[in-house]
């Protein structure tokens, strides 16, 4: 197991380095072709040449290589790697440390993810198990039909409907009935409130979770159906074990392996959903920060945040792989 983990970690470091190289090249070429992102600092107004030069210098964009199309700008890349290695992820265009921005916004996104993951697992396991257990019955058809519907409804439509149709009357009613600081009023707030981070992220998180849960339901159903017809289940049944025991220990447990993998894979996809959710619900999370940084051409913030996200993704992948190996002994011996 130790060697397995070591191998995975080394691969991860390599992946991370590759991601950073690609990211660096893409932004470098974008700057060379599109012109100076330091201009974004000034918005509509035109800065004087000296102001521009000052801002370029401040954000490390003054290297002449950024003016030469095709130059890979190796120097600034190495400088950045060294700075990153020392924990210095630079600052945004306003001079705020990227690490500070991330430290402030990441907890909001993590809360969202906790709710989302919990929703996935709950809906996926419950509905998937029911559908598999009563295969071909109305319950199964109903669940499968619902998953298609949920899949067809984009998350932003769901959230827009919720925000503009549901929250306003419900929140108003809850405020007048229970007071503005009551749980129901907070749950149905039209947007996030940093003073009540869990309560106000709950329903948007559930909605985001629901919209991504269809894949889990089908995955759990498929994998449980496989287990139901598996030899070990037949053996267990023929031993006379109670059905309840067979389902819980041999079917549900085995079907959790692909689910764990899927959580890891869908994690990155959820970040895309988080951008939408955070934007609509005004949650100051990683998705919103990244979106704002891209819109505002804030190069160092984009690089810093994407690198940190890449680190998180790679770490999640390792955790999933290790969990996978723990759940299925065959994997670690390969």
């Amino acid at each position: 197991m130790g060697r397995y983990i070591l191998r995975r970690v080394l691969q991860a470091v390599g992946t991370l380095f590759l991601v950073m190289v690609v990211l660096h090249l893409l932004t470098t070429f974008a700057i060379q072709l599109n012109g100076n992102p330091a201009l974004a600092f000034f918005g509509e107004h035109e800065p004087s040449a000296s102001q521009l030069a000052a801002v370029e210098k401040r954000y490390g964009l003054d290297d002449p290589c950024y003016d030469q199309v095709g130059n890979p700008c190796a120097g600034p890349f190495v400088d950045r790697l060294v700075a990153y290695a020392q924990g210095d992820f630079g600052t945004n265009l306003r001079g705020r440390a990227v690490t500070e921005i991330v430290a402030q916004s990441a907890p909001h996104t993590l809360r969202l993810f906790v709710v989302v993951t919990f929703t996935w697992l709950t809906i996926g396991m419950v509905l998937g198990s029911v559908a598999a257990r009563w295969r071909g019955r109305p319950a199964d058809h109903g669940i499968r039909f619902t998953t298609v519907l949920v899949d067809a409804l984009p998350v932003f439509v769901l959230l827009l409907l919720y925000k503009f149709v549901v929250t306003v009357p419900v929140h108003q009613w809850a405020r007048s009935e229970f007071g503005s600081e009551s749980w129901p009023a907070l749950w149905f707030r039209p947007s996030f409130d940093a003073d009540h981070p869990w309560a106000t992220v709950l329903i948007p998180g559930i909605l985001l979770g629901v919209s991504g849960s269809a894949a889990f339901v089908r995955l759990v159903r498929a994998s449980q159906l496989e287990s139901y017809s598996g030899e070990h289940v037949r053996t267990a049944r023929s031993k006379g074990l109670p059905e309840r025991y067979v389902v819980l220990h041999h079917v549900v447990r085995n079907s959790s392996i692909p689910v764990v993998t899927a959580v890891g894979l869908v994690f990155t996809e959820a970040l895309a959903g988080a951008v939408v959710t955070e934007g609509l619900m005004n949650i100051n999370g990683m998705g919103g920060v990244l979106w704002g940084a891209v819109k505002g051409s804030d190069v160092s913030l984009v690089l810093g945040v994407v690198t940190l996200l890449a680190v998180v993704t790679v770490v999640v992948m390792i955790v999933v792989d290790v969990l996978y190996a723990a759940l299925d002994p065959r994997i670690r011996y390969e």
Binding site: S48, A49, A54, V168, S191, A194, V289, G292
Partner: protein, 546 residues
Amino acid sequence: MRQARITTAAAAGFAAVALVATGCSAGGGDAVTEEPATVHLALNQDVGTLLPMDSNVDDNIAVLDVVYDGLVRYDPETTEPYNYVAEEISTEDNTVWTITIKPDLTFQNGEPVDAASFARAWNYAAYGPNAMANNYFFERFVGYDEMQGETDDAGVVTVEPTATELSGVTVVDDHTLEVTLNGPFAGFSTMLGYTGFFPVAEACLEDVEACAVKPIGNGPFQVDEWVQGEKVTASKWADYPLDEAPAFDAVEWTEFAGGSSWADFMAGNLDEGAPGAADLGDVESDPDLAERVVERPGAALTYIGFPLYLSEPWTNIELRKAISMAIDREGIIEAIVPGERVPADSWVVPGGVPGGETGTCEFCTFDPEAAKEALAAAGGWPSGQTLTITAGTDEEEAELFKAIGDSIQETLGVPYELETTEDFSSKRRNREMTGIFRNNWFPDYPVNENYLAPVYASGDPEEGNTNFGYYGAEFEEAIEAGDSAETLEDAVAEYQKAEAALAADFPTVPLWFSVSRSYHSERLSNVILDPFSGQMKLRPLEVAAE
């Protein structure tokens, strides 16, 4: 002297409002438990800083309006400036200005608000390498150029700035400041109420980053905390010595950074809301809301520019007139943004600033016949060519400019293509436009000059100004005459002549002015919108208990 007189009148007027306000709250709130009256507002823009020298978007300007006091403030109804922190602003020749500051004023940290505090802020803003957004406001000061240095075409600094202080700003004594401008400018004193001219404390410059997040102001409110990206909270400064203090206790601004805050307003969490296009249904179906709306003509002008730095057909004035008269401004506004814009037939907002008059543009009304005649006089549209219309990526603006293209195509038979691009600003700056393009101007201070000189004057007969390649000798002369006029009234009249010269040269096509509209909660009354930004003025606001 003129300025001093206005002060007294305005102060008296404001005192009356304040009395009414206090009277109201004392009578209405039968002293149950003293809940602090908090106003809940939204910051819809991305606010990067609260440093006065660097704040140039509506939202941070609105926050700083209650956190700092400037030398002058503007009457919210008439935009007329009056002295506030300044005791007197005087000049003999419009070039050398003497500013006296009221005694015994302090910052919220106890430091004195004196001549040095203004000089300190202005020097910091004017120093090029500090890259402050309001740097360009100091261009008229003697010594500005020495603080900018020089760069070559690639943007590499070739000459470092030789000065760190404006030689045109002298601290005469604790309460007297002398400013020398490059040349006469009659409108100088009206500029001084702008955010970029606020004073800063010494402690602020010692830690600029901290001060940008937690300002050390001299105004009636102090910022308690700004959790960046989330919210700004401010509460009343107990020792505020002047009289324009709001009648409520605290403000909480929630940041929405481009997202919609309308649902939060409708749900009762915010005291002010501005509906987006998608929310207009709510507004129409709610008669109660119609009673809580305040509207005033805005000051932002949207207009069309031509690449005059290219040759024909753009340099042909008849063609420009033809395009202008082919645009059905009223019809487009009615179809796309009803009630949200006012068709423009002048380059300066009429009634909004001194010298602004309606009807200075003769060719700004929709007249298909005249448009066709003008196009014929211009020799027709080059056959086989398509008119490119370039705008930014804002969806509503794109829709408006598509309608403009349709209007031109229908009237003149000129085929067009609409180009919406992220690189809009840089294309304009680098003179890469190949057709007509969108422009928007938003005044920084209330004189008609602000719509003219910063946009069209260049002093460069060869190249013309940066964005359009325009140069008008008569226009430049009139601006200069206005700058050196003896009184502001005379100056305004000269600037009006400059606008007339502009109308004759017809380098751009005025389209429409903005309309400011704001909905407010039932708790608020005496809601007045800022004539420039359209934002709610906080100081005169009255707030009932929650």
